[in-house]
Subunit: 327 residues, 4 copies
């Protein structure tokens, strides 16, 4: 099957590669010529512009946009919409805010263009393992593109079947799912990332406590000098916290138990923030997902102004001087 | 190899079964006669008292105590200590507070008894999958019991080797680990459970938001009626949140997407609380692990007194009447 | 000075009363005839429609809208805008979202209408104590209305002067403040309410712990049966937590230390939610303000779906049955 | 009345001063000779040792110990206990852990010594405003020392009477309260400080958001450059957040709106930690009090190990490089 792919960063390029390996045909474009040339060598058809890409595709066309969420994606989709014809499909595979999907789908529908929002998980491992795809929007368009999704998704693999699913069928067991109308794909991906933040933070705090179990500030005879790499490793077998994130932690700790190459400045992407906003819109308490986000905010500052306010108050009522940082 | 096992609840009984299947010999005892008789039929030697159990073992003896943490375990260990001889080993495989291990090990050392504290993870699945063992205490005793640990642990299985561990060796890759001196085993298990609480809460909040995405209180056109079972299933393949806890969630949701059989009263065990206390002793911030614990506290009350105080204040300054519960 | 007031609920009516007592003249309107008639008896000029209210005012007119935030306020302001003339001023004294103020001010400016957004704190006590006013928008309009603000605000009273303010001057010391351009008034009020949520929750949790200090689940000899009313009272004198919220808590507890008339269902208004959203937009961690909000969300549900997910997982890996609620 | 005072730091010395000004007689001792000499000049009787202090007092003696909680206080009380006679009273006015009070009171009771644990709030302002006293322990001893407490406490002052207290009486309205048996005084003080942490954090976060409202990262036209000193000031009049902590914040911000002299390293004392531990013992959720504590823990580190773990995971699954700190 034929697919246009716009945006050939790590994710976009690997999506193309995985499709080509599965026998699909990809027409590609990127603002920089390099990635397209590299993929051409692997069998893709590289094009110099969106117009050229659209021309190179046979109707009904499908174009997967894999660009940074926000203005860049918005612009590319607007440009594509002007070039495509009724019956064609635009896919946003990036990390777009789900309400933007709803708005866009309505606009594109007036031009008889289909729109799919696809949350794509898999990171740098997707090429090899496959991408978990969460799809929202026009069901007919999604059905037409099923071979593409099947090729991108991990498939059943050797993952044991879930009890109680007998006879349920559907594509979820192959790693892709039409979740609902426009926005639903990115909504589900957003919550996925929110959960990911929370899980990451759970591991992070746990290993922090394990690390500090050896602190000289603790009472003698009540300290442990623990081997974090071995602990992460042992949990990979038979314990309840077994998970991909634990595998990655075990790997990082095996390389360097002190993680000395990392400073601890942690970025966040839109999904974590939108998850909290969605929770608040619904009046759903989401302590853990929110705290995980706030830890990242805090990690990027030397000190918050809030902390200075605390110090100022403490001086005001108690004459307390600020402590020195521990060495 | 021979092992005494005291306490034949679900965990204790399955430990015996797994050892017998691996060719080891178990002398067992439980306050109730039933479980011991059942295990006798499977090849264990059942005994009617701790004294009889000790008698039936060949020195140097090793007795694994698998009882509820607290007074019950404390009593059994004291009784065993009086019956055992220098060179023997007592293992506490339950969920004992790590500072109790340190205290006990000191007392037992004076009697020339070895003491091992072993955090045991695996739940109802351990019999089949093996138990992840986190071991603290006397290294020589642990070395002597290596065949037991090897039989109980899951082993390498088909879990891929962790990158960067090349040549590291050790038993962690087989699912058991001597973590450090007395208390270290239960300390590591405690943090394991703390992380588990945090991960569980991350999933719980995420699925709560997904569920409420269909709430009639949200703006029309901005609601999704999502299939939670399929979403959990699709995440099992290729996504970053892949984990055993997700597998279990997928299973429960496949059985009933509304989880209508569950009321939502969630118990907590000592480890979650001790994890927070350990964090506070170290001055390590642990927002997520703590929030996960507090959610459980809250889940067991109709209303907190705190909430009544809020209502009282709101009436005081704003004349606000309490809202009615949503239907 | 003359002021139009639209919306004669508790806040609106008391604002009119306080202005009349200070010698100002008020032209009033409410959708229901009752409140206007009552105020007419106290010296206000009641009108039957917005058009009549506008007619009864002498240009340059100023109309204070005191209606529920959202569609009701939006509609009233649109209707007034069509009736007013260049040079007139619309004041939104309600709890409007600050970005709506920015939008509205731009629209109204094109009609040469001034717009002020005023956050108004004081609750049911404002009539007697005065209202704390946080003003945003057109500075000239604010200056013209200074006599109104002076009458509504509490004034210096017997509150001691703040050290280090010597010579600073300004109106803040009298209880009203022009905070900045359009939106700034409601922004400052929003954060005020966010802080209020956090402070309330701090007291609520503290009294909850004091209450539970007598719980029969605690070890004997380590329980206290505390008199919460007396504790709140003693803190009112010389302690660091002295505050108006404590006064109100003391009052409620003096009336009934068990707060038995309150169920503990706690509503929340937009400001608490918007505060969290503002924090997230800025990447400012705001744990306490957010937790205070989530407590209210949680208070309005019997159980969250999240809690059911936890129960389901616990059953899945450990065979745990849900505990019964404590009696 | 006569009182011995041991420990003449800021709090101890000011307690002596306030008592002397009220006509009481103080026999004092400090490990350093300076403070005692200074107080001797103001009318106190300085002594060179605990033995001398005990000698200088007329039975039944009462000795107020005002030393750092922990080993120092423990040692002084043990030494005093050996010097005092049946019928004498030891007061611990410091920040002792309430379970230590219970233990101590039992030991001292065997020597027929009375023990009072008194939580003392008032900070550097106590000398002038009076101290809020929360008293636990022997009721007869407390009754005997009533004149001392009356002199130390703020008294009714001009604080309005709490509604609904009519006829209730008691000393709470004068700023001191016998809260219950041994430990109750420090327990109530502990929760007081826990609440204080929460309130401080609520203000801190609120002002942090107000400060960041001017951030250049926000959309143009949606930023405010707010005068924090004036905002704190305006809230002091008529708003719901009126409080002593707000007064102190207003003062600090009036001195320097940027709080540039403060780095933001915030210490914590035992009470905040014990409050959380008490909550956990009771299974009382205490999100806000706990988050306030954790903020302080975090403020004293450049980065947590937790944050490095997050960075390591993000690199592992997404190839994400750590962002640079914002300038």
């Amino acid at each position: 099957m034929q697919l246009g792919v716009v945006g050939l960063g790590r994710m976009g390029a690997n999506i193309v590669r995985r499709l080509i390996r599965a026998g699909h045909s990809c027409v590609v474009h990127d603002a920089n010529p390099g990635p397209g040339q590299a993929l051409a060598a692997e069998g893709a058809i590289d094009t110099a512009s969106l117009a050229a890409l659209v021309q190179a595709l046979t109707p009904p066309r499908a174009v997967w946009v894999m660009l940074p969420a926000g203005a860049v994606t918005e612009g590319a989709i607007a440009e594509l919409a002007a070039l495509l014809a009724p019956g064609d499909t635009i896919i946003d595979g990036g990390n777009t805010f789900w309400k933007d999907d709803i708005r866009r789908a309505e606009v594109l529908a007036k031009q008889q263009l289909s729109y799919l929002d696809i949350g794509t998980s898999g990171g740098v491992w997707g090429l090899e393992r496959g991408y978990c795809l969460m799809i929202g929007g026009d069901q007919a368009a999604a059905a037409r593109l099923d071979p593409i999704f099947q090729a991108l998704a991990p498939g059943r693999g050797d993952i044991p079947e879930t009890r109680h699913r007998d006879g349920r069928g559907g594509t979820a067991e192959q790693g892709y799912l039409h979740c609902g109308p426009s926005g639903a794909g990115h909504y589900v991906k957003m919550i996925h990332n929110g959960i990911e933040y929370g899980m990451m933070q759970a591991f992070a705090e746990g290993f922090d406590i394990l690390k500090n179990a050896g602190s000289a500030r603790l009472a003698e005879g009540q300290r442990f000098d623990l081997d974090l790499a071995d602990i992460a490793e042992v949990w990979r077998r038979g314990s309840v916290v077994t998970s991909w994130l634990l595998d990655l932690t075990a790997e990082a700790l095996a390389e360097d138990g002190a993680l000395a190459d990392f400073s601890g400045h942690v970025d966040d992407s839109g999904e974590g923030r939108w998850t909290v906003e969605a929770a608040i819109e619904q009046a759903t308490p989401a302590e853990v997902l929110t705290s995980a986000l706030y830890t990242r905010f805090r990690s990027r500052q030397d000190h918050t102004f809030a902390e200075k306010v605390l110090s100022a108050m403490r001086k005001g009522f108690g004459g307390h001087q600020e402590p020195k940082k521990p060495a």
